[in-house]
Amino acid sequence: MFPFNFEWIWDMGHAVFMGGLWYALTILGIGMTYCIIKAAIDASKENGEHHH
């Protein structure tokens, strides 16, 4: 559920529950994105070194 959904109410319950969910998902998302991008960069560097 997002704040633009019709069921959304600006109260403590929604802020804590939904905020907690997004917070956890954001950490996991950023963490995995970092790992994937860094792996792609590391792999391309390694490929470059092999070609040279």
Binding site: G20, L21, A24, I27, L28, C35, A39
Partner: protein
């Protein structure tokens, strides 16, 4: 045939033997899948749930696998946050067991909700006043964490690791695993707790109702505590069973003993807290609602007072005392007894807090009602067990789950021809436990 996929420095049984084993377990899995499909296509009339038992075998199994799967978050917390390096030798297996437990829990829930196509409603149309919403959120997110923790192990497969991108991805994920482990511990604390909170806030069910702090009844904390105490015992138990099945020593004693010691102290403190909680409940809370202790117990085979004695005394205090003593942990027999009792104890606690809560009469016209699950419920509850055995077998065969295995079980290097012609008898001899 599949030797190129098997980790270096370890020996595995021939492929036909592996396929025969997984095939046999696969038949049980298919039986469960058939029952699951019946529930999905024909509906929950396939179960023996009724007005008394809205929560039944599935929810007990759900809570039990989540409790014993707690070994993953607690071992991860000890390894990555508190820096207990000895646990690095068992953390992979703890994660695998946790992954199986949590995926099983989600599978059971997917069957139990009756209409799995509406499973996403709990996220989109969330009831923010429900402890179960918090459980659903944390459970799903934590399953994501366990998947993230399991992926590097898959990427360490010999063939996958040859791909530079996957090699680096696994390495990078290992590097920031502490972040994922901390997130997992946070999520686990809340969903384990909220499962207990669900029972504790049932003020219409005085058997379960507890007072507490702020919005959390004491059962919230007791559930998290018991999962952290008994989850590692389940990890040790499964490790020991695996060692017996493959006839090898797979994890060094120092890792098992450290985990057993921490688990023992957690279990002892939990048992003390649970004893105090029970005493306060039957001397203060229950009488304030007009009930005496024996109103909650019956002479029927499922809900006698003996369950309280078994849960707290036999399956709580005894394993705790064994695990906190040096001799108890180091003796193989007593360690087996302790971890088995601890696992039974936490499962019994979930049984009591799910089914007995439903069974206790609360109205003057109510009576004790027993519940016998249908075969579809039994089959779908056994389904995760078969799935877990198969996933463990596949992971053990193709992934370096146990970092100590090559060191504890040194093998003579064999060339491919020798590997192809070796007989099962020879292999069996080589699979005997190594001197550790």
């Amino acid at each position: 045939m599949d030797s190129a996929l098997i980790p270096k420095g370890v020996k595995r049984c021939p492929l036909w033997q592996f396929l025969l084993f997984t095939g046999a377990v696969g038949i049980v899995l298919l039986w469960g899948v058939y029952a699951m499909l019946l529930c999905w296509f024909k509906g929950l009339n396939q179960t023996n749930m009724n007005d008394y038992y809205g929560f039944a075998l599935w929810i007990w199994a759900d809570l039990a696998v989540i409790a014993v799967g707690g070994g993953a978050f607690f071992t991860g917390l000890l390894r990555y946050i508190f820096g207990k390096d000895a646990l690095k030798n068992i953390i992979n297996y703890a994660v695998l067991i946790g992954f199986i437990c949590y995926s099983s829990a989600l599978l059971i829930l997917a069957i139990d909700i009756g209409q799995p196509l509406r499973g996403w409603f709990i996220f989109w149309h969330a009831n923010v006043h429900s402890m179960l919403t918090e459980v659903a959120f944390c459970l799903s997110c934590y399953f994501g964490v366990l998947t993230i923790e399991y992926i590097p192990l898959i990427l360490e497969n010999r063939q996958i690791d040859k791909v530079p991108f996957f090699h680096h991805l696994g390495h990078n994920m290992h590097e920031i695993m502490a972040v994922f482990a901390a997130t997992g511990a946070f999520l686990s604390f809340f969903h384990q707790g909220s499962l207990g909170g669900v029972a504790g806030v049932l003020y219409g069910r005085p058997f379960a109702f507890r007072e507490g702090i702020f919005i959390w009844p004491w059962t919230f904390f007791l559930y998290t505590w018991s999962a952290a105490a008994c989850g590692p015992c389940f990890t040790i138990l499964v490790t020991k069973i695996t060692e017996k099945v493959v006839r090898k020593k797979l994890v060094k004693d120092n890792a098992i003993e450290l985990l057993a010691k921490i688990s023992g102290w957690m279990l002892l403190t939990y048992t003390m807290a649970k004893t105090y909680d029970t005493w306060y409940w039957f001397t203060v809370t229950a009488p304030s609602k007009g009930f005496a202790l024996m109103d909650f117990y019956s002479n029927n085979p499922l809900y006698g007072i003996w369950m309280l004695v078994v849960e707290i005394g036999i399956c709580g205090l005894i394993p705790a005392v064994i695990l906190i003593t040096d001799k108890g942990r180091k003796n193989s027999m007593t360690l087996w007894i302790a971890v088995i009792l601890a696992v039974i104890g936490v499962c019994l606690n979930r049984w009591v807090m799910v089914l007995q809560v439903m069974a206790v009469p609360v109205m003057t016209f109510d009576q004790w009602v027993l519940y016998i699950p249908s075969w579809q419920e039994v089959a779908t509850t056994i389904l995760p067990l078969a799935y877990g055995i198969i996933l463990i077998a596949i992971s053990y065969r193709y992934l370096p789950v146990f970092p100590n295995e090559p060191e504890l079980n040194p093998i003579e290097p064999l060339n491919e021809e020798e590997t192809a012609v070796e007989s099962p008898v020879e292999l069996e001899q080589e699979l005997k436990p190594a001197e550790a």
